[in-house]
């Protein structure tokens, strides 16, 4: 894939995912304002962080693209990716905390201690941590779906399963660049499933 197409594709995918993530965060905030339910606040913060990470990553790719992918600007891509990675890690970490908080079976301090707060660059270990978090969330959403057999629950499960697969592809991408588009498409598909759920909730048939 030519470098310009790579950054253009990356940027477009990240912006679309950003808009959907902010839509989810906004709905969660509306819910929190109405019901004062803390798990909805966690959901809001989680998706605000995920959205912010995607935006920063998308912007950094766009800047690199506009600069003609010159070597001097390429460090921006790494910075954007690091910020996105950290935001996703904390965002999904908060979502995992929300599920545990709801189950009330783990001490909250113990979980917070498990959320890493270090800067890092893209590598297999950090991708594995993200995959672990996403698989945990996907499992929780699967349990939820298996209990209520609701279409919206299925969409949320599908979204997190797709995001888990996307990060498996991102992991493989670190050794085989050909997997990059598959990772981006899987990530976009996950966010589109969340968008479908959001539309169904707001416009019930």
């Amino acid at each position: 894939m030519p470098l310009a197409s790579f950054f253009g594709f990356d940027s477009l995918m990240e912006f679309i995912a950003f808009v959907i993530a902010i839509g989810i965060a906004n709905q969660a905030l509306k819910g929190y304002r109405l019901a004062k339910e803390r798990t909805l606040l966690y959901l809001n913060i989680s998706f605000v962080l995920i959205g912010a990470g995607l935006l920063v990553d998308g912007l950094s790719s766009l800047i690199v693209l506009m600069a003609g992918a010159r070597r001097g600007f390429l460090y921006l891509f790494a910075v954007g990716y690091s910020i996105n990675f950290l935001a996703q890690l904390v965002g999904y970490g908060i979502l995992v905390y929300a599920y545990i908080h709801q189950a009330r079976n783990v001490n909250s301090t113990a979980l917070l201690a498990a959320v890493p707060f270090l800067f890092f660059e893209r590598n297999a270990v950090t991708e594995l941590i993200l995959i672990f978090l996403l698989i945990y969330i996907a499992t929780q959403t699967w349990i939820n779906y298996s209990m209520n057999k609701n279409s919206n629950s299925m969409l949320v499960f599908g979204a997190f399963a797709s995001l888990s697969i996307a990060h498996v592809f991102f992991l493989i991408f670190t050794v085989a660049p050909i997997f990059f588009p598959f990772a981006q498409v899987a990530q976009l598909f996950g966010f589109l499933l969340l968008l479908a759920m959001l539309l169904r909730v707001n416009h019930p048939t």
């Binding site: 819910g31 339910e37 803390r38 798990t39 909805l40 599920y99 709801q102 939820n144 949320v156 019930p204």
Partner: protein, 103 residues
């Protein structure tokens, strides 16, 4: 806010209903009864004692989400504000439920 655990160990899994949840339960009963519910119906439907029901009905009236209609018997119905609140609540409940969160 979600309820905490019962003090009694034998009922550790049972949960208190929050004030918000009780409001929603009362309004749901009224809505279910074609938006015209007598206090007895609400009492059984929302599983409340008489004293608590009277207290909550007064609070909901003060919030402007329910109103008293009828002349002889007391009948409660949702106001327009109450109907809009319930519509918003259903959306939020559906959204939270999709993620597996209870409100």
């Amino acid at each position: 806010m979600m309820p905490g655990k019962q003090a009694e160990p034998a009922k550790a899994t049972a949960k208190y209903r929050s004030q918000f949840r009780i409001y929603v339960d009362i309004m749901s009963v009224i809505q279910r009864e074609s938006n015209q519910a007598k206090p007895t119906r609400i009492l059984y439907g929302a599983n409340l004692s008489h004293d608590r029901l009277v207290k909550y009905l007064e609070e909901l009236k003060a919030l402007g989400v329910i109103q008293e209609i009828g002349t002889d018997d007391k009948i409660y119905s949702l106001t327009q504000k109450g109907i809009e609140f319930m519509n918003n609540f259903r959306r939020v409940e559906s959204f939270a439920s999709a993620f597996g969160f209870k409100i």
